[in-house]
Amino acid sequence: MSAILPPSERLWWKHPLDRVEGTWIVIALIWCLIMFAMMVGWHIWGKQNLSTETYKTTPEKYTAKAQAFVEKYTVRTETADKTPVVAPPPGSDIYLIARLWSFWPILELENGKTYRLHLSSLDYNHGFSLQPANINIQIVPGYEHVVTITPNRSGQYSVVCNEYCGINHHTMVGRVYVK
């Protein structure tokens, strides 16, 4: 009779369906299909889709590329560590290094312009958490992830590391300016 006893009908798959259940299953299924369509549709019509362009890399190779990029476009340095502030031209490839415990360099971008942002880590997993916009992307060592970004508001943004990476994890913050 109850859920803790064997069902009285031997063939449980022939047990009749109540109308409440039948109705609810149909409604729930339709809702699941809407959510499925939404996810696919956003790829077609939406403006926020995470790129899947990825390359295998090594810390040495990635550092060399980032170094060349910084040398080319540095406009000034900031903070006591003399972190370079890099202002690349719109449409270009830009590089951000995540490592224990900093993001390097500081980026200066133009509002409404599109850039190809390369992300990789030199050591552990890190997190790219752009605040206050609240965009969050995983950074995995050995992989170079190319994300196309288009800033839509001017101001000062911070990149907070939101993947635990050791004792000074809480000091790992980078910066992006949008002009």
């Binding site: 859920a3 047990h15 996810m39 899947t52 752009l130 965009i135 196309t148």
Partner: protein
């Protein structure tokens, strides 16, 4: 078999306990509560450090405590209890002897040794790698070795469970199909085998890497296979606690499933699709194609979501039908008003069902949506979600079941019944609020697993909005109140075992009494309205759907305002 055994029929519930199974259920449940106690003590450190105004522990201690809290709660407390549930659902519900009790004790010993080894590794320092232990960050070899031992033990326990099903079949202790609750336990055990195998596939090479035998484990491959273990282990919980919900509906109301076909079909969907939900942990990762993400987290995962939505209707629905049959048939909600709200077995489960659906379920779908994941990934929204599923859903259900087991299994009268009566409300509702404010803080971007939201010592520190600080302060307050609720549970449970009045244990016999066949039930129902047997539950389900739809589109609205990404 040379092992002799006896069967005890419990005079309070009529359940029949085989002596080996009874001792093993007791041992596993007690070990579970010990780890809940340890995890609960660790929770004090986590909560009081993330409460910005208190900020209690130093960074290294905080990460150590957070690592241990995660593993003790998510793995040890829950899986020990689940092994007890598996033995209960096989040997006790099917009234048969437990297969190979000596091997079951071996499994228990491996699990205890593994859990202690892992805990010791964390407390020694040098293994503060979080529960996820992403490579290339390395912990001490004993950290992985402890987990592997525990997993092997748990795997053996699953096979003891399967063996017990065979024993019951062969000894003909029941006729026809197994009860629905046992069917749910089979689902949990099948998912457990998949989960533990995934854990072994990734933890063994990582352990070999930690002792220098293997040179490198790919960080992305690690993430993918680890999550097949890490998330699927939470799916064992879902299958287990939903089985408990059905069991409690049967125990508290004598409720029978509305339709065996629907409920069992939903469990089958879990077996086929639930583990694929683990793919949503990789939505913000490089290297995986859009097609892979969409197929796994949408097409497949929504079948599991569908199954959960079905259980979410059929369990309260079964309660409603049973109540209406008893005459609580007025209006839409008399059945609910007249429910035994003072019985912690029922109130715990009902608070668990509502919280799991509204807070855990809806937020889980948000995180599992490819694009929405970008505004949630690794923020404190994530622990907000899984405290709603694992703590409100699983832990609270296990607590409710314990209140039933104290007289029935442990043969003790519950001490402090007044405290037990308020415990599910205090614990459950504090956790509701805790999860809500965590998700609020996560929506503002606050990171999970982060010692200091003021970024003390960073040259480029970011200033969170005041609302984020307020939310994290509320997380602290709600967390402390939930910990008090947890402490009451431990006090009532352990206290009853130690000082509770001994109850009569009931008739013992050397042979089992088979379950008598049940008479077919009448299909026609004479209660309910507009052809609905459970109209009240249907209204509640529609409220749930409206909340779900609104919140879903609110999140798309948030997403549409962030930077363009392609």
């Amino acid at each position: 078999m040379s092992v002799t055994t006896t069967y005890r029929t419990d005079p309070r519930s009529g359940l029949q306990f085989e002596s080996h199974a009874e001792r093993l259920i007791t041992a596993n449940a007690v070990a579970a509560v010990v780890f809940l106690l340890i995890g609960g003590l660790l929770a004090i450190g986590v909560v009081l450090t993330r409460w910005p105004a208190v900020h209690w522990l130093e960074a290294d201690t905080f990460y150590q405590v957070l690592t241990a809290h995660g593993i003790d709660m998510l793995i040890f407390w829950i899986i020990f209890f689940e092994v007890a549930v598996l033995y209960f659902c096989s040997s006790t519900l099917l009234r048969c002897r437990l297969a190979t009790p000596r091997i079951a004790w071996l499994a228990f010993a491996l699990m205890v040794i593994g859990a202690i080894t892992n805990n010791v590794a964390v407390y020694q320092g040098g293994s503060s790698v979080m529960m996820t232990s992403y490579v290339p960050m390395m912990a001490a070899p004993s950290f992985y070795f402890g987990l592997i031992l525990f997993a092997v033990g748990a795997l053996i326990a699953c096979f003891v469970f399967f063996g017990t099903l065979v024993v019951a079949r062969r000894d003909r202790t029941y006729q026809g199909s197994v009860p629905l609750v046992t069917f749910g336990a089979v689902t949990a055990a099948i998912i457990a085998v998949f989960t533990i195998a995934s854990g072994a596939i990734i933890l063994i090479p990582t352990w070999l890497m930690s002792i220098g035998v293997v040179e490198k484990v790919d960080p992305l491959a690690y993430r993918m296979i680890w999550w097949a273990f890490g998330h699927s282990s939470q799916q064992i919980n879902v299958a287990a606690h939903i089985s408990i919900w059905y069991a409690v509906a049967a125990i508290a109301f004598g409720a029978k499933p509305m339709s065996e076909r629907v409920s069992r079909g939903a469990f089958l969907l879990y077996i086929l699709f639930l583990q694929l939900a683990s793919a949503h942990h990789l939505l913000a990762d490089p290297g995986l194609s859009t097609g892979w993400k969409v197929v796994n987290t949408s097409y497949f995962m929504y079948f599991a979501v569908l199954a959960s939505m079905i259980h979410g209707l059929t369990i309260p629905g079964a309660m409603e039908v049973a109540q209406r049959k008893k005459g609580f048939n007025k209006g839409l909600f008399e059945w609910l008003r007249k429910a035994p709200w003072g019985n912690p077995v029922f109130s715990g489960v009902f608070i668990s069902i509502v919280g799991f659906g509204f807070l855990g379920g809806i937020s889980g779908v948000m995180m599992g949506t490819e694009q929405l994941n970008m505004i949630i990934h690794n923020t404190i929204y994530v622990p907000g979600h899984f405290h709603a599923t694992v703590v409100v859903g699983t832990t609270l259900s296990f607590m409710a079941l314990t209140y039933f087991l104290i007289p029935v299994l442990f043969k003790r009268e519950m001490i402090a019944p007044g405290l037990a009566k308020i415990q599910p409300y205090l614990f459950g509702l504090s956790m509701y609020f805790f999860c809500l404010v965590m998700m609020g803080a996560g929506t503002l971007g606050v990171s999970r697993r982060h010692w200091d939201m003021a970024f003390n010592g960073s040259p480029l520190a970011y200033e969170w909005p005041g609302a984020a600080y307020l939310m994290m302060g509320l997380v602290g307050i709600a967390g402390v109140s939930a910990i008090v609720g947890g402490a009451i549970y431990i006090y009532v449970t352990v206290g009853s075992l130690l000082w509770g009045k001994r109850l009569e244990s009931g008739q013992k016999s050397a042979t089992f009494t088979p379950i008598p066949p049940t008479a077919p039930s009448a299909a026609v129902q004479s209660y309910g309205s507009i052809g609905f047997a459970a109209p009240g539950t249907f209204v509640l389900a529609m409220v749930f759907l409206v909340a779900f739809v609104l919140y879903y589109f609110i999140n798309w609205k948030y997403l549409s305002q962030v930077w363009g990404l392609s």
